[in-house]
Every structure is written in C-alpha cells, then in structure tokens.
C-alpha cells in the first residue's frame, strides 16, 4: 500500500477511450448543468430566487466525471455550490429549481433553498452552508458504510477555501486511522470568495494536504471530464478495496462570481476569458464528440434544444409551483 510517497501529480492509470454513449452522456450532463445554472442566474436577476445563489458554471466536468465512477448506494455530500452535484446525482431539475425559488415543489419543500437541499432517494446528503462542515459528515457516512459492512463509498466534496478549516484535518486523521471509504474531492477553483489559494494557503498543492496522515493525493485536470473519470474510477476502487481514504484535487475554475452578489474585482476579465476560451470542459467534450464522429453539428443543436426545453420546463415549474403552506413553518422541527 502506498505509504511514503503518497502524493502525486503523475497521471493515474487511464481507461480506454470513451465509447460514443459514454462521451455523449458526459456532454449532455455537463450541458444540462451549464444551462440550468444560466437559467438560475436569470431567475435570480428577476428576483425569483433570493438569498445566496452560488453557480457551478465552469466546474461541470468535476461532478459529471466523478459521478460516473460511483454506483447504486454510494453517497455524495458537498457544500453550498451544489446544484451541479444534484443534477449529476440524477435529481429532477424541476425539483431543484423549485427549491431555488422557495416553492412547495422543491426538494426541501421550499424550506432549504439553494444551499440546503437533500435527496434520500438519490443518496445526496446536502447542500451545507457552513464552509468545511460537510467534511466530517461525509467521513461519517463512510464510517456508516464500513460499520454496516457494505462496500459503498462516500464522495465528499469541498473547496480550496474549505481546505483550511480545522475539521478537515480532524476528519483526515480519523479516516486514515480507521481506513474509512471516503474520497475527498477538493474542488480547487482557485478562489475562496475573493481570496486566491496563494493568499490563503501555506501549501498550495492541496492534494498534498493528506500527506502527514498518509492519505494518498492526486492532482487532476478538473476541466477534462475524462481525466476526472479515470481518477474517480481509481479512487473509488481504492476505497472499495478497503485501502482507506484518498484525496483528489480537481484543478478547476468558476466563471461567475462567488455568489450572485460578488463584484469579482480580485481577478481580471482576461483571466476568466482565457479559461473560458481555452479550457472550457464542455467545449472540450464537444470537440471530442465531433473529432470522433460521435456527433454532428446538427445532432448537437438538437441536443441543445432538448436541454433548453428541460431547463425551461424546470423554470416554469419553479414559478408555478405554489409557495409552501404557512403551516409548513411548524413542521419537520423534530420527529
């Protein structure tokens, strides 16, 4: 088992080239997230979504690639930038959007909002507003898997900013000590609100953050859905084999502000445009589809239409679903 040299930037074993169906599926999922988020931004601008709303645009390859590595019964938990994770888990876009508008058709019946959403059915455990708090929770889900003796794995996502919270390291220690089946997915989008990784972290290579606990860590190109898929397969297998936790640092980027109310003066427009034009995960998948003759311009246009229709339907539902009944104020406080 890897011990001493536990961190690496070296490529993980890669799987064979994706099939047409697999690649098309990745593309579709990423596009759905992108269009969903654009629509959410629009509804926010219209005052239909309130409070904080953190968009996932730019980071789509991470959740879509990782989701392909897990199966029935594996769990997912993340922070407040969670819409993409929920769609990747197979949650209904209309139910997610209706939660964003605070309507009774939403996943939390309008009581949770953008940052606090859950689905027992899809094994999505939230949706957490406090930076870093989901990391011990994900570790606990992995503990429950081990306790029950199943071979399920928990994907625990957190940001580069969250990587500085103390409870992350308390979790790392326990996870390795007890060999818990948890994949720590660090979504390093290079900023925590207005603070770049360089300004907040003494060790900026976040995949090394587990090294003093002997947790292996790998840096992955989080803008390349296939690289994410390969890393995800490796990491999930690692956990299923009982080897304990593993860290995947996804190098990624968010195109929009931290939340809707972020003037984003801490980075240049050029920096954003550069990533958007040269490293966009969806453009990348699109190119692969065309190069491999898995799709044509025509078929992609059709797909885009289909996705827009799904998203428009979600937006429609989110506006027509009624507000929660006032009596809901007093329900679900304790069982």
């Amino acid at each position: 088992m890897a011990k001493a040299d536990v961190t690496s930037r070296a490529a993980l074993p890669t799987k064979p080239k994706p099939s047409k169906d697999e690649l098309a599926h990745f593309y579709r999922e990423m596009l759905l997230i992108r269009r969903f988020e654009e629509k959410a931004g629009q509804l926010y601008g219209m005052g239909l979504i309130g409070g904080f709303c953190h968009l996932y645009i730019g980071q789509e390859a991470v959740v879509v690639g990782m989701q392909s590595a897990i199966g029935e019964g594996d769990q997912v938990i993340t922070a407040y930038r969670d819409h993409g994770h929920m769609l990747a888990c197979g949650m209904d876009p209309a139910g997610v959007m209706a939660e964003l508008t605070g309507r009774s058709g939403g996943y939390s019946r309008g009581k949770g909002g953008s940052m606090h959403m859950f689905s027992r059915e899809k094994n999505f455990f939230g949706g957490h507003g406090i930076v870093g708090a989901q990391v011990p929770l994900g570790t606990g889900l992995a503990f429950a898997n081990q306790y029950k003796g199943n071979d399920r794995v928990c994907l625990t996502y957190f940001g580069d900013g969250a990587a500085n919270q103390g409870q992350v390291y308390e979790s790392f220690n326990m996870a390795e000590l007890w060999k818990l089946p948890v994949v720590y997915v660090i979504e390093n989008n290079q900023y925590a609100m207005g603070t770049s990784v360089q300004r907040a972290s003494a060790e900026t290579q976040l995949h090394k953050r587990g090294s003093s606990f002997n947790i292996p860590g790998h840096e992955i190109d989080g803008m390349d859905v296939l690289a994410v898929r390969d890393a995800g397969d490796f990491a999930v297998k690692w956990c299923r084999e009982g080897k304990g936790p593993i860290i995947l640092e996804m190098k990624t980027y968010r195109y929009r502000g931290h939340s809707m109310s972020d003037p984003a003066k801490y980075r240049t427009r050029e920096e954003v445009d550069q990533v958007r034009e040269k490293h966009d995960p969806i453009d990348h998948a699109c190119q692969l589809l065309l190069d491999n003759k898995f799709a044509t311009e025509e078929s992609l246009k059709e797909l885009d239409k289909e996705i827009r229709a799904i998203v428009n339907h979600a937006a429609e539902f989110a506006q027509t679903s009624p507000e929660p009944n006032p009596s809901e104020l007093w329900t679900d406080i304790v069982h």
Binding site: K111, G129, E323
Partner: protein, 449 residues
Amino acid sequence: MSTEILMPALSPTMEEGKLAKWHVKAGDRISSGDVIAEIETDKATMEVEAVDEGVVSQLLVAEGTEGVKVNAPIAILQGDDEPQAKVPNGAPPLAPQAQAPKPQAIKPPVVPREPELAPDTQMHAITVREALREAMAEEMRRDPTVFLMGEEVGQYQGAYKISQGLLDEFGPKRVIDTPITEQGFAGLGVGAAFGGLRPIIEFMTWNFAMQAIDQIINSAGKTLYMSGGQMGCPIVFRGPNGAASRVGAQHSQSYGAWYAAVPGLKVVAPYFAADAKGLLKAAIRDPNPVIFLENEMCYGRSFDVPKDIDHTVPIGKARVIREGSDVTIVSYSITVGMIMQAADILAKEGIAAELIDLRSLRPLDTQTVVKSVKKTNRIVIAEEGWPVCGIASEIATQVIEQAFDYLDAPPARVTGKDVPMPYAANLEKLALPTVDEIVAAVKSVCYRS
C-alpha cells in the same frame, strides 16, 4: 422572437441601481456569458452577463441612469428561436411571484439626543456602515496595538464593506486577511490579546463564529477569572448577526441570548449609527472581551452621529428613546426600528408607549427597564431571536422579580418564531417578528382590542 433584457437584482437586498456603463450597442450580437453592462449598487459595481443569445436591437436605458428599478426593461434582444417549454400537465395555477422581502423602509422619527450630549454637539448623518468604519479607523489611529483580522476584510474591502479603505490606510500589518479558519483566527486573536495587542476579529457573519465559540467562551471569556485576575483579554469580536434576507437556516441566527448568558463576556447590539460608533469605540478600549452584534439589514440606514471623535457610549447602559406613560416597549438591534413604527401606530390610537433600546445585552441595564415599568405598569419585549431562554425571557423575569407589584398585566414577548429559519419568502416573513405583532401585543397588555 424578441425579448426584453431586464435590470437584474445583483444581491439579496438590491431594489434599484445605476446603469453605469453599456458594453454593447444596438446591432451587436451577444451570446451567453458576454458582459453587456456594468451596474452600480450601494455596495459594489458589478458586471452583467448575457444569458440568452441574439442581437441587441435597442438599448432602453441610457448609460449613467440612476435609480433603475430591478426588473425594469433595459434593452431588447432579438433572440434566436428556441422551443417554448410547456407547463406540465396538472401543474398548479400561477402562484403570486415570490419577491425577496424588501428591506423595510424605515423613516426614523426624530430620536431624542443622548441626555449626556452637550447641547452644542455637532452632528452629521452617516450610515451604520460608515459609523462602524469610522470607529475602527479612529481607534486604529489612536492606538497602534489595535488591528483588524478576518475573512475578506482587506483586499476585498469587507464582505459587507465595513472595512472599506482600511487596508489602504493602515496596511497589511494591521488589516489582515485570514484563511477560512474561524476557530484558528479567533483563538489566535485571544492569544494576541494575552500578548498585549487589541485585536478586532471580524466574523463574516456570526453564524460562522459557531466554529470558534469555544475560543470565545472558554479562552476569551474565562481567563481573567481562572487566572485570579492576572490576565485579561481585551478583544472585540464583531460582525453581522441575525437574519439577512432569504439566506436560510444556517445563515440566519440571532446570537444575543447565546453570548449574553456567559459571565466574562460583554455583549452589545446597537441599532442607531451613533450607538454603533460610540459602542464600538468603547468596546475597542474595553479591557474585556466584547461581543459586538451588528445587523446586515441596518448597515445602509442613516442616522445622526456626533462629529466629536472622542464620543463613546458606555457599555451596559440602555437608552429611553421615546417617553410615554401607557406601556414600556423594550428591544435591541433591528427590532428597535419596528418598535418605533409600532409606537407611531399606537400613538394614533391613543396609547403612549415608552421605548427603550437596550443597546447592551451584558451587562443588561435592568434598572432603566424596571424604572420605566414602575411608571407605565406594562411591558412588551421585542426581539428577533428565538423565544426560548431569550433576552425577552430574561427581561420578563427581571421585571417580575423587581417590579411584580407594579404590573397591571403579564409581560408580553414578540420574538422570532421557535423554528429554524425557512428559506421560502412567505415562511421567512412568518418566522420573523413584525410591527403588527408588536402592536397587537401592546394592545393585549393594555387590555385594548
């Protein structure tokens, strides 16, 4: 198909903004993600990105226009046709649009001046945000051991712009951006205070101080006692407290009662800008740990503040902000604005309310409250916090203990509801205390319907 591009809401509390700059002109083709305009709000300038694709056929609002209302059309886009989604079968009828609750437009009635203010004191109107900033800046100029530390306080100019400009004036040695690590920097601040400095620790909001509450209570609050008086902890922990707007259960809590329960801490929660400034200066100068509870919804409200930079407000003293003979209404922080509105309504119905702004929650100035109750014989306490074991419960108990024989009716409380804060607009409204509830509570203790 042509669509209107609407003035977007760029923050939970925005109602209007200035269209500062257009990045496109009529005839330009735009696609999703293109920056089309810049909009200024009271907090920031933000870029607006296109959502749909198409050709801009007309700009409807000229560059430089102020006060453009959210949702007003600002341009027309000639869109590429896209399929229209159908409403799903059996979908319920169109519900009324849920709008983010507007921050209450409170026109503050003229507030009597501090009795202790000299009659010739020069005043100027500034926002609570500016008052807090001035207090920090003045104390940092006065005392080189005072420094400010927290998330986004420096380069970003503060998540809520309280520390705007401070990095420029005082430099990165004294205005320090931290990683997201509340337990760490709160504890570090306590250690720095032990070491002879006077830290101001900003929590982006008090919700995140729960990560650090052990250091606040166990390390900051108890060391003076445990060291037999040798070692105190002169530190201020500050930040916005209470519900903002639609930010949900984990981000909308009032911590007044939590910290006020702890011997060894001082706790203040001002409403007016003069008190925000005077109390923050007093807190920075105080040799004890002070919990300073602000309110995001009030940051933009303007009030008169003394110009004198030596003006401070003593911690532990409530203030009678309006005299009356029929009932005492006590509150602190944002709900002070509500009891003032309630008092105006009640006055029209012939009920003269005496209003007390507690300003400090520990020490709690029960003397001022009891004195008032002995005059009015009735009391209503309003706060945004939860009802169980709250500040209102404490005041009610004190009044019962100290003025039972003077009461003509049981004390009444108006509080936030005993539930986690819901996200939905209608439920959030129901969860928060309202002016109407205060009016109703007053009528009930006055036995008027």
